[in-house]
Subunit: 325 residues, 2 copies
Amino acid sequence: MRGQRSATLDDVARAAGVSRATASRVITGQGPASARSRDRVTQAVTKLGYVPDAAARALASRSGTRLAIAVIGATAAILDDPYVGRVLTTAAHIAAEREVGVSLHWVPLGASLATLASSHNLGGLVVVNPTQPALHTVPKAMRGRTAAIGVGTKDVPSFDVDNGSGTDGVVRHLVNTGRQRIAMVTGPSWLPCVDRARDAYHQIMRDSGRETRVVSGDFTATRGAAAAMEIMTRWPDTDAVFALSDLTALGVLDGLHAQGIRIPADVAVAGFDDIAFACLSRPALTTSTHPVEEIAAAAARAVLDRGNTDRTTFFPSTLVVRESA
Amino acid sequence: MRGQRSATLDDVARAAGVSRATASRVITGQGPASARSRDRVTQAVTKLGYVPDAAARALASRSGTRLAIAVIGATAAILDDPYVGRVLTTAAHIAAEREVGVSLHWVPLGASLATLASSHNLGGLVVVNPTQPALHTVPKAMRGRTAAIGVGTKDVPSFDVDNGSGTDGVVRHLVNTGRQRIAMVTGPSWLPCVDRARDAYHQIMRDSGRETRVVSGDFTATRGAAAAMEIMTRWPDTDAVFALSDLTALGVLDGLHAQGIRIPADVAVAGFDDIAFACLSRPALTTSTHPVEEIAAAAARAVLDRGNTDRTTFFPSTLVVRESA
DNA sequence: CTCACACATGGAAGCGCTTCCATGGCAATA
DNA sequence: TATTGCCATGGAAGCGCTTCCATGTGTGAG
């Protein structure tokens, strides 16, 4: 293509015979410009193959054009779970409509978001699985353009699936289908949504006079398989397992299979999320939906359109009965 | 935290009692600085909670600090496949070691990479599933910091799995285990790697005096299920199906199940990629490995460390025999 | 004791862009 | 014809940072 150095706004302005200011106005579409200038600039742009420099633009306009998605406390395994992928795809979609890009950032638990969020080239920030401390590290200037997927702080709009009622639906189904000794595999304990789910489980167990059996998980399949062993060893008479993630439930299925346990005849298994694979497993997984796309879209829109929702919005989760429970 | 406006390098310099130049040198670690200046600046930085602005830095230094991953021709479904996720995670890892971020970009088939790659705040570019035209749109200035995952052009280092020998291994296994009428489900036809795999399949079929049965796929599970129907309708005596993607193979498994076909008794099924779910399905999937992490790491390193590899590197794929074939 | 040299330092010039502001031209009004 | 007002325009001032260059300051060699 063109020479070594790529064309700048100056080159365009010169080629069009207008000032840089005018060229800028035409290109950004902000501010007045005569039809004549508009034409000449447009022509110069295509002729020179001019593409505005995002960094310079962000710096000058003090508002970037990129939506950052920060995933808190993620291990490498998290992308085995379609979850982040779905958030990402959806956000990218919404962002693309507004001609902004997306970037993905893994933020270790306890790390600061300051570096990430301080950059001028950021148009917005969506924090996935936020913790209070992490959210507090986002600079004031960025607060208005931040949303959380999960349970956030007061000054940041938050979006999450209704883990409580979702869990309620699943566990109630287990109870209604005659299961007596129902175990639960949770997720990472630092996630507030895990608490809500565990609370819901405890509630039902208590109300129906059942004993609780909880082992902690991390949303991975590997952990699910291990949890299956652990559960059947500690409580051999368990007749149902509810995992707070489909991936984990799939692992549980596997672990149970390995022990020669029949599903759902001996033990019922239920998950949470309704991932694409849930209906591909044998037996197909009974689970509860997780409207990730809706949630991610809401978060992305809240950030990009500055929706002034500063409350937490919960999205309903509905039971999907298949073969495993 | 601090006031409305966040601290700039000027603030730090002032607080430390040095010039902006010196402060910059200390912070970037480039250029000389006395121990005294270093201390004072470091203190000022922590005191003010100073975080450098990425946009300004990129603009001034003419070299960004972000690794962009552009996925060509991706549909929303692509993230159901762990593939992109694995690329992303690995790249993010390598990038993080060098304190650079990653960003992900969906580039429609036929779209230009110019806008993406022209930005000064880009440290490198990794193009996934590149097409020749797409690669040609990356500005000269960026060429040196670009790598391809897939088959690229001469001036860009490329990394890919050896689809040819991988396919060879799988199909040969099918042949060796006595399968006679082996069908293949391919991937998107615009991907060169699909050609290589199809060629390998044709080769073996021809060499062993077998007839070829090819239906085209798109790497999704949905398409796999449909392909299973299509294959069994067109060629009811088929006794093996090889899909160029595990996701598709899983779909095939599902489609075959739906028709009451036993696997592997009636029909053997083999995939490609060895995704995490491959061993979770019933029956567990026979497949061939795809060292995505190695490939992505090589690509990321080639870009970040300016490795002058301007050739295509193929990574070996090895057969994994499980239950389905 | 002098000269040369290295090193730490600050001033200043940008990087490529947006945007404020003052200017000038033109049509509409009186 | 003189006055008002509006709109298109260019000049210039940054955005926050890096980096070149010239200036001091202290050290070792002669």
